[in-house]
Amino acid sequence: MKRLGLALVLVGGALVACARVRPHERQILAHPGLAQPPWPEQHAAHQHVYQIREGSEGAAGAGGGGCGCN
């Protein structure tokens, strides 16, 4: 768990260092191919199965902020 916490801190720190992208530069980011989840119905169907059949869970259905294009 300590290694996991360290990894999270490193990833978080790296994220802060990312370049800022202006709204007019986000055409590709707005594409449905980059949406999260990319295919909501399929994603929901699969996660439903995994939640029932597998013994662990969490952090699977969240995330996926948008591009802030509008």
Partner: protein
């Protein structure tokens, strides 16, 4: 062994899915006015079939408020080895109904709060989930933060025994961070913690007790009355070209029962016909270690163990998924149609009755913008 359809994690998933993307499918441009209808089908070679129609509608109200309602029905037909060999001599059918309503309020520019209630009911299980969340777009909308808290109140019953009712409680918190990395991609970081308390076993499941090299008798499953889990996921989403995209993620999960799992997923997609068609493939691999008190069979020489389970989902296991997806925008009021099919294979490395299983999962979705 009857199949208790509703697991609290299923509702948690529904909450996370609806909270992360108001209106469902296309979070890139947030127009919530749409109706989504879907049908999911699960079928495996253990003769379990589940049909799940669903519907969801979202609409804006004045003052920056968005409301959404959703419902899902799971219709199960099961004649699995677990059902036929223990509780029931024949296949059974069962239905679970889930419904929810949510509100999203933009409290100030680029900051929104959400509240959601989801309930579900089947013959031997009722569940209620209350969640609240906050989403903010920061750093000139290069960073999105989602924070969600969920409380669960469940009652576990047992078919044919109206006196059996056990409480199960859950508290869950999730933090999701999305960062635009450059003009072509994102990185997502998700951390989620969950604490479950109360009756956490399955009232239909029994464990074999072995004496002198043979199964002498069975005892009801017993699990600790608390389970705390933490999971973390890192995801990269990137445009390889203007029409080709890749999603890759890795998740690590651990809990106080000793279940540790690793999950890796890769999705590739390609846009065609001026972005009217999106085709994709997906592959997923999963493996987990067993719960510390899991045994395929227990030695009864030293008495019955305090905690005992032979649930194959809590033993050493792995799964692999391979699937395809197609999504198309139909030139009629912007209707979007999506179809998917996937093969999933499960391996249970410690189970005495079933070592593996093949399943097919298919889905069909229609999104109608209003």
């Amino acid at each position: 062994m009857r199949v208790q359809l509703i697991r609290p994690r299923v509702i948690a998933l529904a909450i996370m899915a609806m909270t992360a993307a108001p209106g469902g499918a296309r979070a890139q441009v947030d127009d919530p006015r749409q109706v989504t209808v879907g049908l999911r089908v699960y079928a495996d070679d253990d003769r379990v079939t589940v049909w799940s129609p669903s519907a969801r509608a979202a609409a804006p109200l004045p003052h920056g408020v968005t409301v959404d309602v959703a419902t899902t029905v799971d219709a199960v037909t099961a004649a699995s080895i677990d059902v036929v060999s223990t509780a029931s001599p024949y296949a059974f059918t069962e239905t679970r109904i889930e419904g929810g309503v949510g509100l999203t309020v933009e409290v100030r520019p680029r900051h929104a709060v959400t509240a959601r209630v989801i309930g579900s009911d089947e013959r031997d299980y009722t569940a209620l989930r209350l969640s609240a969340g906050w989403r903010a777009e920061l750093a000139a909308r290069n960073t999105t933060v989602d924070l969600t808290f969920t409380a669960g109140l469940d009652t576990v019953g047992r078919a044919g025994d109206p006196t059996f009712a056990r409480d199960r409680r859950e508290l869950r918190g999730a933090l999701a961070l999305t960062q635009i990395t450059d003009r072509r991609g994102y990185v997502d970081l998700v951390v989620e913690a969950a604490d479950q308390r109360g009756y956490l076993a399955n009232p239909y499941r029994f464990v074999p007790i072995e004496m002198a090299g043979a199964v002498a008798y069975t005892l009801p499953e017993r699990a600790p009355d608390q389970r705390t889990a933490v999971a973390a996921l890192v995801r990269v989403r990137r445009a390889l070209t203007d029409a080709a995209f890749v999603h890759g993620d890795y998740r690590l999960s651990r809990d106080t029962w000793g279940v540790t799992s690793n999950t890796a997923t890769l999705r590739l997609s390609r846009a065609m016909r001026a972005d009217e068609l999106l085709l994709g493939v997906e592959a997923r691999g999963y493996r987990q270690d067993a719960a510390s008190f899991h045994r395929a069979v227990y030695a009864g020489d030293s008495g019955a163990p305090a905690w005992r389970t032979s649930d194959r989902a809590l033993g050493r296991m792995a799964s692999a998924t391979a699937g395809v997806v197609a999504e198309s925008t139909v030139p009629w009021h912007g209707l979007r149609v999506s179809m998917s099919a996937a093969w999933v294979h499960f391996w249970w490395l410690d189970d005495l009755r079933q070592s593996d299983r093949d399943a097919v999962v298919a889905s069909l979705g229609l999104v109608v913008p209003l």
